[in-house]
Subunit: 120 residues, 2 copies
């Protein structure tokens, strides 16, 4: 059976496990509204890493994976670390179409929702 | 003249100046839809700091300041660093009513907007 596309949210990670809560809620919200597989991954301090998640999805036969960086700003993590991690995943799994969206902080709808929260 | 309330967005900060772009857009969006003063502040690596912004707003006569942490998760920065900074600001400026919202990642509307971006 051909697997559906998978989405992988990519966050920074933190020492405090409770930092992950909004990511778990996001995963739930996206899964509710679509039938795609949604996984979480982290740059540091939390697991799983993005390569670990891509490895697992590859084992399960997913051929299309889209990664969404759940970061506000595009600094060194998104401009340097993230492309290097993606490249390594692509080299390891040439059979997978691995794409990435801009960071969520680039989306006007997201910024408008934050602005609304701030102003209320 | 009594000054209006001021909003201060509080972000992590990064070495790359371009990291600040979504925060500048947020500032613009909030200012468009309200007539409150909106300032940016950062925990580290970028300036101004939150105490610097509060000092400036105090000089200008603002009596009510609301701080909004523009963070997804609530880890050590929000649970430990942020309350300590707020307490220091309150001790220095007892004349100001200084309040803080939960991090933007706690808001369902914000998470729904991110989920929508991820799923599209």
């Amino acid at each position: 059976m051909t697997q559906q596309k998978a989405l992988v949210l990519f966050g920074h990670g933190a020492r405090d496990e409770r930092w992950k809560e909004p990511f778990l809620k996001l995963q739930e919200l996206i899964a509710q509204d679509s039938n795609v597989r949604v996984e979480l991954s982290f740059l540091e301090l939390m697991s799983p890493s993005l390569p670990e998640v891509v490895d697992q999805l590859a084992i399960e036969g997913f051929k299309t994976i889209e990664v969404i960086p759940v970061f506000f700003g595009q600094g060194g993590h998104i401009r340097k670390d993230f492309p290097a991690i993606l490249d390594a995943c692509r080299n390891k799994h040439p059979e997978i179409q691995l794409s990435a969206k801009p960071a969520v902080g680039e989306d006007l709808g997201v910024l408008q929702a934050i602005a609304k929260y701030c102003a209320n």
